[in-house]
């Protein structure tokens, strides 16, 4: 009998191995529990898999990963949370989800845990704490540990900028040297200069910017212009009062400027571009400038065709009303429906460690810890580190209300209608947006 059981166990093991059962888990799984971490499928996720091997080795807890492409990321995981699913023990959820996830009881509140484990939010960059952890904003109620700092930045073709013919022509046309743009007007000049230009026998274009309609693309793009032109989500003194802030004269000009950039200086067919389309346009040598999240910059720098000495990075340039940039990035939260909350919390404790944060940055993730970012060697640690640090000091985020998805959809529609589909004026688009947002907040019972 014993022999039969042994044979059976060996056979089962062989069959399981043949079928690949257990793929994606670490050897530590056999020693204890396994927890699942959910995130988007992109370069930093691969870095996290690498990093998490240390956690499994140290704790004996196996790690499984559920990564979903960005286009389905929100749909997939919000469905999971809304259906009280227990697939994810840990989730690196988008910054805008935090209000809904907190109010609907989908994330575990971490205040007591942080206190018990001595994790202080003072050790993280303030913008990331507000953006990724707090709900309500600017109150000490924490639902996530800042995990992946990110913001919108720009890349440019350094090698093209360095060409004598380009430098000569640019100076002749604009009366100044070509270089990293300091203002949005300068950025447009550069984009216009390259639009349709011949570089090594190939027609190139000015800039790849966000214009995607379906999810959040055009909103994440246009915000970088709106903020710099004076757009504000609401009256700082009177929350949810949006008239004159969302549709201020400055904001209208900002929206017009974004449309001008789209019309004058993007490649043909760029009416629905987001992160991956931007990467494709830049990597294939189509565009001189690219708007994209910093998370992609390590990969771009390593690219054999456009990386290394050929690529340069800069922060979102200033506009007439100031300089700001759209926040990206996420915090890591424990899902309240998880059956492995203790192990998930153990992971968060491990992840908050100073050495782990340093390794996270070294592997290609963007740490939010001050110990990493304020280190004197940080700005020189990567060609885009200085720009990242600068960007994180001027980030602004979209609404993080429980109704953020509705608010986002309204902006997607209004802005895309104006910028891409040429419907109405910028003033009408922003007035319409105020009307939509008021209706949504009214439905939510907000007073303004």
């Amino acid at each position: 009998m014993k022999r039969t059981m042994k044979t059976l166990a060996v056979s089962c093991g062989a069959v399981a191995a043949a079928l690949g059962v257990g793929a994606g888990t670490t050897p530590a799984q056999a020693q204890g529990k396994t927890i699942t971490l959910c995130w988007a499928a992109w370069d930093p996720a691969n870095a996290l898999v690498e990093l998490s091997k240390d956690f499994s080795a140290k704790s004996g807890i196996g790690m499984k990963f559920e990564f979903v492409p960005w286009t389905n990321y929100a749909d997939r995981f919000l469905n999971e949370l809304n259906s009280h699913g227990s697939l994810c023990d840990l989730i690196i959820g988008d910054s805008q989800w935090i209000g809904g996830a907190a109010e609907n009881g989908q994330y575990v509140k971490l205040n007591d845990f942080f206190k018990k484990e001595g994790i202080s939010m003072d050790d993280y960059m303030p913008a990331t704490v507000v953006g990724y952890s707090e709900w309500p904003k600017n109150t000490p109620n924490y639902w996530a540990l800042p995990a992946m700092g990110d913001a919108v930045g720009w890349t440019y073709r350094k090698d093209w900028f360095a060409r004598p013919d380009v430098q000569k022509d640019f100076k002749a046309k604009y009366g100044r040297e070509i270089g990293v743009p300091k203002t949005l007007d300068e950025l447009k000049d550069i984009a216009q200069f390259f639009q349709g230009r011949d570089i090594d026998g190939k027609k190139v274009y000015g800039a790849s910017i966000y214009t995607e309609r379906g999810s959040e693309g055009i909103t994440m793009g246009v915000s970088n212009y709106l903020y710099d032109y004076g757009f504000k989500y609401d009256d700082p003194k009177k929350p949810y009062a949006m008239d004159g802030f969302v549709n201020s004269p400055g904001a209208v000009k900002g929206l017009e400027a974004y449309k001008e950039l789209y019309k004058c200086c993007t490649p043909p067919g760029a009416s629905n571009s987001y992160m991956s389309e931007g990467l494709d346009a830049f990597k294939s040598g189509q565009v001189a400038l690219q708007m994209n999240f910093f998370a992609f910059f390590p990969g771009l720098y390593k690219d054999p065709n456009v990386g290394g000495d050929k690529i340069g990075f800069f922060v979102n340039p200033a506009g007439p009303a100031g300089q700001a940039t759209q926040l990206g990035g996420q915090g890591i939260s424990v899902v309240s429906y998880s059956k492995n909350q203790a192990e998930a919390l153990q992971y968060i404790k491990w992840f908050s460690g100073g050495d782990v944060q340093k390794k996270w940055w070294a592997l290609g993730g963007y740490s939010c810890a001050k110990s990493v970012l304020n280190d004197p060697s940080f700005p020189g640690s990567a060609p885009f580190a200085k720009e990242f640090l600068q960007s994180m000091g001027m980030v602004v985020d979209f609404w993080a209300e429980p109704s953020y998805a509705q608010l986002l959809q309204a902006e997607q529609k209004r802005v895309h209608d104006y910028v891409v589909a040429d419907k109405g004026t910028a003033q009408e688009a922003l007035d319409g947006l105020v009307k939509d947002w008021k209706a949504i907040f009214k439905e939510e019972g907000k007073k303004f």
Partner: protein
């Protein structure tokens, strides 16, 4: 006993083994037996079809949101229906849907019938041509959506190059998916490319069902080919054509996947068909009550139109 068929032997053995059960089954009336067989189907139908429909109707009168199950549900009466029917954005989406449905159905019917008429004239290699024509409808809409996105790409897309070749315009001078005027036609072209073969198949079945002797009688009466077409072919194939129109009409009224992949409803809201609006309300905004009301309105619209159409179809058939 040896002469019994295999099935009889099995029954006999079963009766021998479990006489009680056999007696009980033998005691059932035909009616009871019929109920016994259809009950699982009815239960399944109730569970996955009727109950969700009734539940959706209920939700359409409430403020329920699937992502906020802890918020008390409030009865709103017909508020959502009123708000949907007076919302200009909804009417815009319905107009986009109507444009898409009408043009795809017209084009697919004309081309599909034309192709069926040609294929019906048996010529050398017609089997191979039929298979080639049928290929697009065998593809997944997701695949079709993705590769037409590439075909329509202004810089590398084959479609733009073909147009450029024939018109002399630069290939990158126009964008099928990013232009407000062209994008509604871009989705019509793709749907017609994919589903014309389906219409052709149904029409072909209609044409093949016309008995040869009718044409022979017409020949005897010296009716011209033109007269034969209008007096025999078209009237006799009409019920099949109408059936194809019904199927394509219903299918395209709820079109989602292909349009979503091609344009995502854009540029702006130019190609936002009703099902994309519904999906956004239901699974992005999580306005479950609102989207339930919209779904019911769409259902009633399709159901009502289909019913009127089926009555017309029956009239044509009974002629």
């Amino acid at each position: 006993m040896n002469e019994l068929s295999a099935s009889s032997r099995i029954t006999y053995r079963a009766v021998m083994v479990r006489p009680g059960l056999a007696r009980r089954i033998r005691g059932l009336s035909d009616r009871m037996l019929a109920w016994l067989f259809i009950t699982p189907t009815i239960v399944l139908l109730l569970a996955i079809n009727i109950f969700p429909l009734l539940w959706t109707i209920y939700l359409s009168f409430t403020n329920y949101r699937a992502n906020r199950a802890n918020v008390p549900t409030i009865w709103l009466g017909a508020d959502w229906y009123q708000s949907i029917l007076t919302d200009p954005d909804i009417w815009a989406a319905m107009q986009v849907t109507a444009h898409f449905v009408i043009w795809t159905v017209v084009i697919e019917t004309v081309l599909g019938f034309g192709l069926a008429y040609l294929i019906d004239k048996k010529f050398r290699g017609h089997g191979m041509w039929t298979t080639i024509i049928l290929l697009p409808m065998m593809l997944s809409p997701a695949v079709v959506g993705n590769f037409w996105t590439f075909l329509y790409q202004p810089q590398i897309g084959l479609f733009n190059y073909v147009v450029a070749f024939f018109t002399g315009r630069a290939a990158s001078s126009f964008q099928m998916l990013g232009d407000v005027t062209l994008s509604p036609w871009a989705i019509v072209i793709v749907d017609a490319w994919m589903w014309t073969p389906y219409v052709m198949l149904i029409c072909l079945a209609g044409l093949r069902s016309i008995p040869d002797y009718i044409y022979e009688a017409a020949e005897v009466d010296r009716a011209s080919k033109w007269r034969q077409f209008w007096s025999i072919t078209l009237p006799m194939a009409l019920p099949f054509i109408m059936l194809a129109v019904l199927f394509r009409g219903i299918e395209n009224f709820k079109m989602f996947d292909m349009v979503n992949l091609l344009t995502g409803g854009g540029p702006g809201s130019t190609t936002e068909v009703a099902s994309i609006t519904l999906k956004r309300a239901a699974f992005e905004s999580w306005r479950t009550g609102y989207s339930s009301a919209f779904a019911i309105i769409l259902f009633v619209t399709v159901f009502g139109l289909a019913n009127i159409y089926v009555k017309a179809l029956n009239k044509v058939k009974s002629r």
